[in-house]
């Protein structure tokens, strides 16, 4: 068997699934967003759905909110995950517990974390109750609004909770395979601890951090159930908005939902491209 044939056969099943399901799904979504669906008699594509999306003020608010959620969650969890990995790299009392919890946390679904956050941070949640116990607040409304809030703090907290271990495990694996010798070289060449971290370790673990954080960004930008559970009613996150449109009893809203889905896909691809370009220059330049 020639290599060419072998490679083709090896790749075929995976490519079939990706092309049919993923790109097929995107393509159908694209067609429907243009009101083009010959099977059900729509043969004249138009841009009306996009027009509706782009003239809706909630869409822009929704985009800003979703971007804020994804960006803030990604940056904070990446930074904290690197810190946690630095901590876990060295031996200390309780390291194995943290290690285990890190991995345990990977197995806990986002939804469970979100519900936990709700019970912890709502105005009558555990922290509010603690505050009341210590006489910091007299009634729930005095506790700061951390869920269903306009700044999506609850959502971001849940993402941070969930993504620190995800990025952390990847970064830790990265650090362990790199070892400490590069840092030793840098120290002996006169770099301080901080310089060693900034100019040597960080660029070395950067590919791992980058790929992990890209996945986190994409996930947090596109997740439905977390903002649906913890988010404010208005504006809703983009995926929630798209889902609402799609399940609107008015069938006319479906092309709008499809248009939003396509816009979400394009936006996340573009933002991730910019992010990769920009951060690569910053970290490795």
């Amino acid at each position: 068997m020639s290599d060419r044939l072998k490679i083709t056969l090896l790749l075929l099943p995976a490519m079939l699934i990706i092309v049919l399901l993923f790109f097929g799904g995107l393509a159908i979504g694209l067609m429907r967003s243009f009101n083009y669906m010959p099977v059900i008699g729509l043969t004249e594509p138009d841009l009306s759905a996009y027009f509706l999306v782009f003239t809706d003020r909630e869409f822009y608010l929704s985009f800003l909110l979703t971007f804020h959620i994804a960006f803030t969650s990604t940056v904070i969890s990446s930074i904290l995950a690197i810190g946690a990995a630095l901590l876990l790299r060295r031996n200390f009392v309780g390291r194995s517990i943290v290690n285990f919890l890190f991995q345990l946390n990977l197995t806990v679904p986002h939804l469970v974390g979100a519900i936990g956050m709700l019970y912890l941070f709502s105005q009558s949640g555990s922290f509010a109750r603690l505050a009341a116990e210590w006489n910091l607040i007299a009634k729930p409304s005095q506790f700061p609004a951390l869920v269903f809030d306009p700044y999506a703090i609850g959502i971001i907290l849940q993402y941070i909770w969930k993504e620190i271990p995800f990025i952390g495990v990847i970064v830790l694996a990265n650090m362990q395979s790199i070892g400490e010798d590069y840092e030793s070289v840098a120290r002996s060449l006169g770099a301080s601890r901080w310089q060693t971290f900034r100019h040597v370790l960080l660029p070395l673990i950067f590919p791992g951090v980058l790929s992990a954080s890209v996945m986190v960004f994409a996930f947090t930008f596109g997740a439905y159930e977390i903002p649906a559970l913890l988010g404010a009613n208005y504006p809703a996150a983009l995926p929630v908005l798209a889902y609402r449109k799609y399940t609107d009893v008015d069938l006319a809203a479906r092309p709008e939902a499809m248009a939003m889905a396509i816009i979400i896909a394009i936006l996340s691809a573009v933002m991730i491209y910019i992010y990769i370009r920009y951060s690569r220059r910053r970290i490795r330049g």
């Binding site: 590069y182 030793s184 840098a186 002996s188 060449l189 310089q195 660029p203 070395l204």
Partner: protein, 347 residues
């Protein structure tokens, strides 16, 4: 210009029962090139990392010109370590790698560029500044690593197995480069190696460390001529050891007497001599000329190794292949052990 002094340096790793390094003491004069020699795991890299500040010693002290440096941060010691696998930062160009130490000292970029250029000339890689390390050969990477270390003008340079990853023909080139740069800049240099040949060709002085203890600290020749004990002699390729008793200048061996020079250890002990110092078919009247029986003959290309029996003793000798042509196991030959090549080990 730094005189390095190591005093009773000891390292016990957490959880280990045996020390990895046991009370090592060494004086390394300013500008000298010293080798720490020993098999892997003998504690030589540990020693180096402690000098560089990358490891904390369990006890003991390291002083530079009399001042203890153990409390100094690694970046403030003026010690640069070059690792065996070079560890060039893979995401930086060659020039950026070399300039790294200067950048960390926040030197003006133009000045860094100038000095990097000089350094590239010095290590004979003038045109490779823009390349990535992955595009370099092993020897070139070694030079970049050396340049990266020397550019910060360290007081002390530490080299970890500097020649071991190189092909035979590159070794001498690199040896010459290291020696000339070191002499030129007068940097006190310590390198570690497990290869006695590497130590001998490069170092002014060699410290042999076996089992965490220093055996002998001397110039290279001394390890061949005057090893302190059997382990040291064996490490340097010594094969011939005979038990007996020395009285004055006479050694009483199992097969008879051997003439010695003056000033060797007296009493019962072990006599050693190097295989390459035994003469074949020389003057029969010369002292210490004996009959020997060939037990085996091993052809090694440029040399031939003969395994001989003298009385009950086994003796190995190395000769020029042409000298032993036609001889075969079972033949008798005449060998001479010149008195000035015989050495009594301390017991």
């Amino acid at each position: 210009m730094t005189h390095v002094s190591i005093k009773e340096l000891t390292k016990v790793y957490p959880g280990a029962s045996e020390p990895s390094l046991d009370r090592l003491s060494l004086e390394i004069p300013t500008g000298e090139l010293t080798a720490l020699l020993g098999p892997s795991g003998c504690g030589k890299t540990t020693t180096m990392k402690m000098i560089a500040g990358l490891l904390d010693p369990t006890s003991g002290d390291v002083t530079f010109d009399g001042r203890s440096i153990l409390k100094d941060k690694p970046e403030n010691r003026g010690v640069v370590m070059v690792f065996q696998n070079y560890l060039l930062f893979p995401y930086m160009s060659v020039a950026d790698n070399i300039g790294f130490g200067l950048k960390m000292r926040k030197m003006d970029p133009a000045e860094i560029k100038r000095r990097v250029g000089e350094m590239l000339e010095l290590v004979k890689l003038p045109d490779l500044g823009k390349r990535k390390p992955s595009a370099l050969s092993g020897g070139q990477q070694q030079r970049v690593a050396l340049a990266r270390a020397l550019i910060v003008q360290p007081n002390v340079l530490l080299l970890d197995e500097p020649l071991s990853n190189l092909d035979a023909h590159l070794r001498f080139e690199m040896r010459d480069l290291i020696r000339s740069l070191q002499q030129e800049m007068g940097i006190t240099t310590i390198f570690v190696t497990h290869d006695q040949e590497e130590a001998v060709v490069l170092a002014d002085r060699v410290a042999l460390i076996l089992d965490g203890c220093m055996k002998q600290y001397d110039n290279a020749e001394a390890f061949y001529k005057r090893p302190v004990d059997e382990a040291t002699a064996r490490f340097f390729g010594g094969q011939n050891f005979m038990s007996g008793t020395t009285r004055g200048t006479v050694f009483e061996a199992s097969f008879g007497q051997l003439q010695l020079v003056e000033g060797l250890n007296q009493g019962s002990g072990v006599l050693t001599f190097r295989p390459e110092n035994v003469l074949l078919n020389g003057d029969p009247s010369a002292p210490n000329t004996l009959e020997a029986n060939i037990a085996d003959k091993i052809y090694l290309g440029t040399q031939t190794r003969l395994k001989l029996r003298i009385g009950q003793e086994n003796v190995d000798i190395i000769t020029n292949p042409s000298d032993v042509e036609g001889l075969s196991p079972g033949d008798l030959i005449r060998v001479t052990l010149p008195p000035q090549t015989l050495w009594m080990l301390t017991s």
